[in-house]
């Protein structure tokens, strides 16, 4: 049976992890490669690096982290943040990433989705959507670009369908309303997008405990969920989280 994925997400700024679990026994707890290796060993089904600065000068530092991580982790590795062109994507794939996540660049020039897909395959292209809806219905949720700073006046449902048509392999859907609250994912929004497209939907934003993940995999119909701030003393790794999901009847990769 196809299992639901737990994807460990590391926010990287200037080559250092700025969010996500800090393992106390690591030599360098801010090193993206070391943390990625630890998450993979801890049972994460995939790893995501999100470069939240992604300036031109820092791109090289990130690629070096990707290279070092890719030498030693053998689960899928996705890199997002600042990828604007086929050439940016090629550098990330050459460093050993399996997928790229594109967001603002795809909104600005949607052809970049099909360009990367044509060369590296659709499975390698994740389109990330930052969504906000406030108190309105999921169907009215709006897409934001530039790290959530700019409203685009585009409906999330329309953009998700267009991304699929243009050859996206997966949708990474972040609820800006839920992000940072640790109060649970936006399940109605996730379910609406999951129903609108036939490609997998990765839910992001708001996961604070195992129950939230169970909800987004049932009511939210998510295929995968991003885990970042959930890792703390009680749930120290993906394995522990998945054991709790398994006891709720969610199919997960265990043992892992």
């Amino acid at each position: 049976m196809l299992t639901r994925r737990i994807i460990a997400c590391l926010d990287v700024h200037a080559g250092r992890v700025v969010k996500g679990v800090q393992f106390l026994d690591l030599m360098d707890a801010g090193d993206p490669a070391e943390l990625a290796i630890r998450h993979a060993a801890g049972g994460a089904d995939e790893i995501v690096f999100l470069d939240i600065t992604a300036t031109h000068q820092e791109r090289g530092i990130l690629l070096e982290s990707v290279r070092r991580a890719a030498e030693r982790i053998f689960v899928p590795l996705t890199v997002g943040g600042g990828i604007r062109s086929l050439d940016d994507a090629r550098q990330v794939f050459d460093a050993g990433a399996d997928k790229v996540s594109i967001n603002s660049a795809a909104l600005g020039r949607p052809d970049v989705i099909s360009e990367i897909g044509a060369r590296f395959g659709s499975q390698a292209v994740v389109v990330a959507i930052d969504a906000r809806r406030g108190p309105t219905a999921p169907e009215l949720a709006e897409v934001f670009s530039s790290g959530g700073r700019r409203a685009t006046a585009r409906r999330v449902m329309d953009w998700a369908r267009e991304a699929e048509q243009r050859g996206a392999g997966e949708i990474l859907l972040t609820s800006m309303d839920a992000d940072g609250t640790q109060a649970g994912f936006d399940c109605p929004l996730t379910a609406a997008v999951a129903d609108a497209v036939s490609i997998p939907v990765i839910a992001s934003g708001g996961g604070g405990n195992a129950g939230h993940f169970t909800q987004v995999f049932t009511a939210g119909r998510a295929d995968a969920a991003l885990a970042a701030s959930i890792f703390h003393r009680g749930i120290s790794d993906a394995r522990t989280l998945k054991q709790q999901l398994a006891s709720d009847g969610i199919p997960v990769r265990l043992p892992c």
Binding site: M1, L2, T3, R4, R5, A40, D45, A70, E71, R72, F74, V75, P76, F93, D94, A95, G96, D98, F120, G121, S122, Q123, A124, G169, E170, S198, I199, P200, D223, A224, R253, C256
Partner: protein, 202 residues
């Protein structure tokens, strides 16, 4: 001496991932871009992600003939993902592109009853004894990402169920193939690659 393995580069994706995993298994990895590069290949790996039509270049470049020649001369061959599908007669994804026809049947799209592509960790179940799946738990979770799949055939050694039962791994003589990505399937995947590297030339 480390096992020597030649990975075929036909401009279809994940060469770095596959070579890194093979190196982590202790292999000495060479890349072959032309039929000539295959002349002394001991073990051969054909990776591949993306569209079936990308395999057309294997026939056009003469790589297909070179592969057949080496494998009949005793080199074990491992096809991954599209590399598995290419061993069949063809795929409805690109009906004008022929496969190598080592295995009978045609690859086809998943039925509309399930989401496509099939992405993520799914279980494989053994249907016959297998060299590459030796010491692998049964069932075992491995990582898939594909929209087309191969039919169940006599050479199928493991199957997966997603909308229908399909060939997850197949073996016949020196021809071995997996639909999933061993290079992305954690410790189980590395063990499968190590098993392949240990298949003797014969």
């Amino acid at each position: 001496m480390p096992a020597s393995v030649t990975v075929i580069d036909y401009q279809a994706g994940n060469i770095p991932s596959v070579t890194k995993a093979l190196r982590a298994c202790g292999a000495d990895v060479r890349i072959a871009a032309t039929p000539d590069d295959l002349r002394f290949a001991a073990h051969i790996v054909l990776p591949g992600v993306g569209h079936f039509s990308a395999t057309r270049v294997l026939h056009e470049s003469g790589m297909a003939d070179a592969i057949r020649e080496r494998v009949s001369a005793g080199s074990p061959f491992l096809g991954i993902c599209v590399g598995l599908q290419w061993l069949f007669e063809g795929s409805t994804e690109a009906p004008e592109t022929h496969g190598l026809s080592v295995f009978p049947g045609t690859c086809d799209r998943f039925p509309g009853t399930v989401k496509s592509p099939h992405v993520g960790w799914n279980s494989i179940e053994r249907v016959r004894p297998s060299r590459i799946l030796c010491d692998i738990p049964d069932p075992c979770f491995v990582y898939f990402t594909h929209s087309y799949s191969a039919p169940m055939i006599e050479a199928t050694v493991a199957s997966t169920n997603y909308g229908r039962q399909f060939t997850a791994a197949a073996e016949r003589d020196n021809w071995m193939a997996v639909q999933f990505h061993p290079e992305k399937s954690g410790e189980a995947g590395l063990q499968i690659l190590r098993n392949f590297l240990e298949v003797p030339r014969c």
